[in-house]
Symmetry: C3
Subunit: 434 residues, 3 copies
C-alpha cells in the first residue's frame, strides 16, 4: 500500500515506516513522505525467510545517504542482537557521516528468557553509541602534528615493553615464525592459534588480533576470532594478502569484512585496489604492479571512510588515514622487499601497537565507561603509524649493519633491530600530516 | 544383589567380583567382602552399551588406591586388547604404586579367528608386566648422581651422532622449520609428518615421537601417531603448549593422554598447572604468569607419579622427575625467552635423546626380551635431562658469541651451537639430584 | 565375437577395432588382425560404468609397445576431453617412443552445446601433437655440451631477474618461509597458495608451479593446481618428499601423477626408487639410505622415459635426464645436508628456472604457435640444470664465508648467496654431458 493511501486512512501524526532494500527504495520512501525507513536485511535471519538480498553491515551506509538533509529516521533490521549491535551501528555510518537512528530487533528480545534485560542491553548500546561524537577509530585527539604522533608512538613502545600485550595472530604459514619472533622482539607476546573452538576463550584474553589471509587455511577460525574480538572490543587488524589474486580471495575478504568490523585494514596498492573494486592498480600474485595510485592520500581517506576504519596503504611510502586525517610515512629500506613477509610483519606490528593502545586506554578509563559507544578504545591512527614506523625504522638500522650481506642475513638483523628500537629512533622518523 | 546374599547362596570359596565405576564403589566392595573388583569402563566399547562414564586409563589408579593393604584383586574392563593392554597396565598404576592384577577381555579373544593365540598374547603381556619391578620410565639405574647423569648424557649425544635416530614431530606451524633444523644440528633425522593415514607405517620406522599442540591442526594425526608409538614401544614426548589458554586445549590434552601413554610430559608452570588442575599458577596465552610453584620439586614428582611418566617443568630452572627422583637443572641463557619456539625446540631435543636411548637399549637387549613388560625401553629420565641440557647449554654458548646482536641473530647461533655441543660441554652443566 | 568371425561377416576393408585393457589384450588383438585398438579406460567416466580397472595416462605406454613394428593403430578411450587431451597424448608415449594415433571421445563432443567446435578443438590438438617431432620437455636444442648449457643457464638467470616470474609453490609447512625467501633472492616472485578454490585463477597467472608433498596437507589443492597448470601449459615440478616413507605417500604420488603430467620430477635416491618401484635403494623417513644406484645415469634416463618428463636424482652428485641426454652435476657443499629443506629449495629453484624458460619461450614464439602440440614450451632440461646449479653453487659460496659457523648461520648465508649468484659463477660449475 502506498504511503499516501496509508496516511489518508490512519489518524494524523501516525508514524509510517517503509522497509527498504536498495538505495532506490530509500529515495522513493523520502519522496512518499515516510517517517522512517527500515533498512536491511543486515544479516540472514531465522525470524522470517529473507527474500531480499542481504545488504550487510557495509551496505547500510549507502542506503543512509539519501536521508542526508531530511528528517526521515532509519533503523537497521534483521539479525541484530546485543553481540553485534555496536558493530552494526559503527559499520553502518555512511561516507557522509549519516548514522542509524536505531535498531529493529525481534529474536534477541522476544526469544530471551529475560526480555526486559535484553531490551535494556540493546537500548544502552544505542544510547552510548549516539552520545559519542567521534565515530572513527582515531579517538578525539586530532588535529595531529608529527611531533605529537612520534611522541605518542614512543610512549606506546614503552607500554608494549612494560605490559607485553598478548596478540593473537591468525596468519599465513609462510610467516608465522618470523611474525612471532618480531612480536617477541618488540616486547609483546604472540599466540598463533587458529582453531575455531578456542576463539571465544581467546577473545577475552587477548589485547588484539591480526587476521592475515596469505594462505586461507582457517576461514572459520578467522570469522569467529574477529567476531569475538568485536564482542570484547579488541582491535582487529586485517591484512588481505594477495586479495586480488583470485575470486576466492575477494569473496573471502568480503565475507570476513561483513562478519566483523576491522579496526585497521592494511595492504599494498594492488590489494587495496582489489578491495575497493578500483581498476587503477593491478595485482600480480601477492604483489602490486606499476606505480600505484595517482592520489594515494585521497584513496586511503575514501577507503577509510567507506570501511569505517583506519586504512594503511604500504609501499615505498606508506599512507595511513582514519577517513579524515592522512599521514604520510617515508621510511624503510628497500631490502624489506627482498624478504618474504615483511608486509606481514608490519601487520603484526600494527596489531601489537593497537593492542597496547587499546588496553592502555581501557585501563585508564573509569569503570563506568565500559558500556560506552566505541567498538575499540584508544587512538588507532597513532597505533597504526607506530606499527609501521617500528618495522620501517628497524629495516633502516638492519640494512646498515656490516654483518648484513644479503636478504638472508637481513632478516635476523631486522628482528634484532626491532628489539633495539627506541623512542629516540622514532623521533627521527619521516612523518608528515596532510 | 548384595555380596553377602550372594555368598550365602553360593558354595564356599566361590570367588565373587563386583563391577566398580567410582572410588566409592570400590570402598563399598572391600567393605562387603568382594574377592575382586572389575574397574572401568576403560574405553567405550561395542561389547555392551556403556552406561557408566568412561573411567579412562588415567582414572584407574584412583580406584585402585582403596585396595591398598587388602587382598582384594582388581582387573580393568572394557575396550582392552593386545594393542593397548600394556598401556593400560602401565597407566593404571596408582600414585601409591598399586597395580592391576589382570585384565578382563571379551572381544579381542572371542571375536578373534584364533582365540587361543589371542588369549596367549594377552597373558604374555600381563605376566611380563607383573614380572617387572620398575614401573617408571627411568629404568633400574637409580639412585642417580650428577656425574653419572652427565656421563650418560654425553654418551647419548655420541649415539645420536652415530645412529641419527629418525624422530617424528607433529608440532605447531610456528616452529616446524627451526625444530627440524635443531634436530639435524644435533645429529638426528626429523620427519614432520602429520597425516593420520601414514601413522601406522611411521610408527614402525621411527625412533621416537614428539607431539606438540601449539596450533592444534591435526588432532587425529596426534591420536593415531601416539597410539602407534605405544604399540611399537617408541617413546612419546608430549608438549601441551598453551594448554591453559582455552577449554578446547584442556579437553584436547585429556583426549590425547587418555588415548596413549606419554613417556615425557614437558611444560612451563602455567601449562603443567593447567594439566594438573592446579590453581597455583596461571597461564596467559602460551606463557606462564608469576613466580611459579612454591615447591616445584614436589609438583613434578607428584605429577610424574600421577601421569605415570617423566615430567619436565621448564623455566629459569628446569625440574625433571620420574615420580621418585627429582633433578634440578640450572642452565640456559635468558635470550631463550626472546625467541619463539625455544621451549618447542627443547621438546624436540628431549624426543631425540629419548629416541636414541630407547633404540640403543632395544638394540643391546637379548631378542627374547622383546615381549618384556615395559612400554618403553631405556632410561627416559637420563634422556629427558639430556634433551634439556642440549638446548640450554647451546643457548649459553650462542648468547656469548660476538655475532649475536639480538634475538634475530641468536636463533641461527643457537642452531650452530647445537651442532657444536660436546660431551665435555655437558660435563660443565649445573645438574643437581634431589 | 572373435575378429576373424567378424571379418568374415563384414564387407572387405571394414576397419575392425578391439577394446584392450591389458598388454595381453593388445598382443591378442595384433595376432587376431585387428585394424586398431582402443586402450583404456584412461580415466573413470560417466559415459558407461567402468568395469575394467582404470589404466591411467601413465599405463597407456606399456599397452602401446606390442604395436611396435605393426601398422595397427591405437586410440585412447574414456574420460578424454579438450582440457586433458594433450596431457593424455604426451603421457601415453611408450618408452619405445610409440604414440597414440588418436583419441576416442564421447561426452566432450556429444554433450557439448557446440559439438562441431568441440570436435574441431580436439582435432586441432591431435594434429598439432602429431606434427611435433620432439616429445621430450628438452625441446629441439640438443645435442648438448656443457658450455652451451652453462651459457643458457646464465641467460636464464638474467631473465629471472628481469621478469621476476610468479611461481606458485604448494609445499610442506617446514620449508615455506625459506623457499619463499630463496625465490625472492633469485629474483622471482613466490605465491604459496594451496586452497583448491583459487587454483583455476592462479593457473592462468603463474609462470610455473612447484608441488612438494613433504607434509601432505592439501592433496586436493595439489590435484587441481597441477591440472590447471597442464591446461595453461605451465611447467609443473614435482618433489615427492619422503614418498618411500609410507603407503599413503606412494598412493598419493600415483594419484597426482595420474591426474597431471609433471614437467620435472625431483628426488633423492630413496624417493625416486620408491616412485620407480625399485628395490635397489631404500628410504628412511625423508632420507635415502646407503650408496644409491649402481648406475644412476641409466636410472634417471629410464625413469624420465617412463614418466615422460625431466628427472633429477639429487645427492652428492646430481643427475638430470630428459630420457635421452643425461647431465651429471658435481657441485654443492656438504652443509646442504645439515639444514632442513635444502632439497625443497632446489625444487623451488627448478620451478623458477622452468617458469622463466617457459614464459620466455612463449613470449618469443609467433602467436599462431599457441595451439602447438607441446604441453610445455622451452627447454626444461636446461632449466632444471639451472635450478640445481643455483642452489649448489650458492651453497659453496655460503659455506666458504667467515660468518658461517654452523648450520644455523649457513642458511641465511645461503639465501644471501642465491641473491649474489651471477652468470660468471655459473660458468665455473662442474657440468658433464653423458
Amino acid at each position: 500500500m502506498p504511503i499516501a493511501v496509508a496516511r489518508s486512512l490512519l489518524p494524523p501524526h501516525t508514524l509510517i515506516g517503509m522497509t527498504c532494500n536498495t538505495r532506490e527504495h530509500v529515495v522513493q520512501a523520502v519522496k512518499d513522505g515516510a517517517d522512517y525507513v527500515g533498512i536491511g536485511p543486515v544479516w540472514a535471519t531465522q525470524t522470517k525467510k529473507v527474500l531480499n538480498p542481504v545488504v550487510g553491515v557495509r551496505g547500510l551506509g549507502e542506503l543512509l545517504e539519501p536521508l542526508d538533509g531530511t528528517d526521515v529516521k532509519a533503523v537497521a533490521i534483521a539479525g541484530i542482537k546485543s553481540t553485534n549491535a555496536l558493530q552494526c551501528l559503527h559499520g553502518a555510518i555512511s561516507t557522509t557521516g549519516h548514522r542509524l537512528d536505531g535498531l529493529a530487533v525481534v529474536s534477541d528480545i522476544v526469544a530471551s528468557t529475560e526480555p526486559y534485560a535484553a531490551a535494556k542491553r540493546l537500548s544502552t548500546i544505542i544510547h552510548a553509541f549516539k552520545s559519542n561524537k567521534i565515530h572513527t577509530f582515531s579517538g578525539a585527539a586530532g588535529p595531529y602534528n608529527q611531533e605529537y604522533i612520534k611522541d605518542r608512538v614512543g610512549r606506546l613502545l614503552s607500554t608494549i615493553r612494560k605490559h607485553g600485550p598478548l596478540v593473537q595472530q591468525i596468519t599465513n604459514n609462510v610467516v608465522t615464525t618470523q611474525s612471532a619472533n618480531a612480536t617477541l622482539a618488540l616486547g609483546a607476546s604472540p599466540i598463533m592459534a587458529n582453531a575455531p573452538e578456542e576463539m571465544a576463550d581467546l577473545g577475552k584474553a587477548i589485547g588484539g588480533l591480526l587476521i592475515n589471509f596469505g594462505t586461507i587455511q582457517s576461514l572459520d577460525g578467522m570469522l569467529i576470532a574477529g567476531h569475538n574480538a568485536n564482542i570484547n572490543r579488541k582491535p582487529v587488524v586485517f591484512d588481505p594478502v594477495g586479495v586480488g589474486a583470485s575470486t576466492f580471495r575477494r569473496t573471502s575478504a568480503n565475507t570476513l569484512l561483513n562478519t566483523w568490523q576491522a579496526t585497521v585494514i592494511k595492504g599494498n596498492a594492488g590489494e587495496l585496489a582489489a578491495l575497493a573494486n578500483s581498476a587503477e592498480v593491478q595485482a600480480r600474485g601477492v604483489d602490486s604492479v606499476g606505480k600505484g595510485f595517482s592520489d594515494p592520500a585521497a584513496f586511503v581517506r575514501n577507503l577509510a571512510r567507506k570501511e569505517r576504519c583506519i586504512v594503511v596503504l604500504t609501499g615505498v611510502v606508506d599512507w595511513v588515514s582514519d577517513g579524515t586525517t592522512v599521514v604520510r610515512l617515508a621510511n624503510g629500506h628497500p631490502m624489506l622487499g627482498d624478504i618474504t613477509g615483511s608486509g606481514c610483519m608490519a601487520g603484526s606490528s600494527i596489531a601489537i601497537f593497537c593492542a597496547a593502545e587499546s588496553t592502555d586506554t581501557a585501563n585508564r578509563r573509569a569503570p563506568d565507561a565500559a558500556e560506552d559507544g566505541m567498538l575499540v578504545r584508544g587512538d588507532m591512527l597513532i597505533a597504526t603509524v607506530g606499527g609501521i614506523l617500528a618495522v620501517t625504522l628497524a629495516s633502516e638500522y638492519a640494512a646498515g649493519r656490516a654483518d648484513v650481506k644479503g636478504p638472508g642475513t637481513f632478516l635476523p638483523a631486522l628482528i634484532d633491530e626491532l628489539g633495539r628500537l627506541t623512542a629516540e629512533k622514532i623521533m627521527q622518523a619521516k612523518v608528515e600530516v596532510l
